[in-house]
Symmetry: C2
Subunit: 96 residues, 2 copies
């Protein structure tokens, strides 16, 4: 019975993992579009004010079980990866 419970929970986790992957990919794709738009407008990709305001909004909306510090940490990693992606796109653009 307990092993069944564990298997059921693991299946739920696998499904959430794949939905997270989809959402992270969707986010990355929007970040790429933002990067290209900023490129056109000649404004810097990294915007610490906007990043701070996104983090504040997320912490404000956090109902747990992760604590606010963990949510901030995880999203900072996601922001960093998105910025890296925008910079790689810029580099590719220069090479074309």
């Amino acid at each position: 019975m307990s092993q069944d419970n564990l298997d059921r929970l693991r299946k739920q986790l696998d499904s959430v993992n794949l939905r997270l992957l989809e959402l992270l990919s969707e986010r990355a794709s929007i970040a790429q579009d933002i990067g290209m738009e900023k490129e056109k407008q000649g404004v810097p990709k990294y915007d610490p004010v906007r990043e701070k305001s996104m983090l504040e909004e997320l912490v404000r909306s956090n109902k747990g079980p992760f604590d606010d510090e963990t949510i901030s940490h995880l999203f900072k990693q996601i922001f960093q990866a998105s910025l890296k992606l925008q910079q790689t796109d810029h580099h590719k653009h220069l090479l074309v």
Copy 2:
């Protein structure tokens, strides 16, 4: 027009951020249930084999734009945060 584009994309990003937060919270809650189930069964919380197999599944399902290395990195952070949560629960349990 370009500023409108940027505003539209930022709104999309804000919405994806909140959906990511919800999904991360759902994942954290399942991880807590798994932690409690493992506690009952007396098996260790950290399971490197299962973690490796989840990462492989995620990398296999990754269609970009993030590269596989970035997806692995982001999910490792998520796994680590979940394990920390299970260990905190264990500590709380001991204090009751």
